[in-house]
Amino acid sequence: MNEKIKKHIEMLFTAAPKTRKALDMKEEMTQNTIEKYEDLLSEGYASEDAYQTVINSIGDVTELFEDLEEKNPLCLTETERRKKAMLTAIAVGFYIFAGVVLLTFTLLEDSFILTGARIDFSLLGLVLAGVICIAPTCMLVYAANMYPNYQKKEDNLVENYKESKHASNRDKAIRTSVSAIIWTLTIVLYFLVSFKTSAWYVTWVIFLIGACVQAVVELIISLKTTE
């Protein structure tokens, strides 16, 4: 009979969201119901009557399930998503600007050496580009942490939940593999170019470019998911 009670509660919970809280509540309910059932038996109830009594005393569980929805902090609202896209776009802009600054100063140095100026423009450009890079990096880290890339939804219906779960997993997998490819290519390119030109002092820019490409790809993917 205990199995029958468990089965009944199992059935009641099929409509519940699949969250930790729901599982806990199911366990709690099962334990309390069985304890009550056993108490009724010891009071002299016939097992079928006791079963009916405990099942009836459970009441309407649908109101419970609403509370069991875990408010998901990972779920992005439309405005948050826009904000994230905006942050990423601005960050990419900054990176490009930093690259331009660096390039300009490197070129400046060449022309000034000809005229005999002694200012180290190359170093100045490097420092400036580095400083410019601080802001977009902060922005990207912020965007990544405050609003995670992937979306996870838990809906009332089990099917909805599964579906969105599946979609978000696929989305996440795509992002992960794309960024793996980008960074592998970046490292390969870095060593290739560096050994070829021996210009180690400037080839690290390739990593910045890698970051740019990564950000752009992220942006494209998140825009696509928005659609």
Partner: protein, 107 residues
């Protein structure tokens, strides 16, 4: 009869808190206690009880932990927090006031 069950349902949280003032407890025990104190006339539906637990937990009035029963399934116990005690006291005051008011109005 039906007035009483409605009022009971409306005060589920306070009844739970009042029970937990004495000792830590779990769902069925609280319901048994209600039945004992009302001469088996009233008991709460489990669904009502559990949604009250969740609300109290969210408000920070009770805490929950799993017991380590050696036989049978483990029980989920609840204990009252300091905020819970405060909430109970103020609820108690409100209720005394309400009782007086309703008595005055129903005379």
């Amino acid at each position: 009869m039906s007035i009483t069950s409605d009022i009971l349902r409306g005060h589920t949280e306070a009844i739970i808190l009042s029970h937990l003032l004495e000792q830590d407890s779990y769902g069925y025990q609280i319901n048994k206690d209600i039945m004992r104190k009302t001469d088996n006339k009233y008991e709460l539906k489990e669904a009502t009880l559990y949604s009250a637990f969740r609300r109290l937990e969210q408000a920070g009035y009770i805490r929950t932990y799993w017991g380590n029963e050696t036989v049978g399934a483990r029980r989920r116990y609840y204990s009252i927090t300091e905020e819970g005690r405060k909430a109970y006291k103020s609820y108690r005051r409100d209720w005394e006031e309400a009782k007086v008011t309703i008595d005055q109005l129903l005379k």
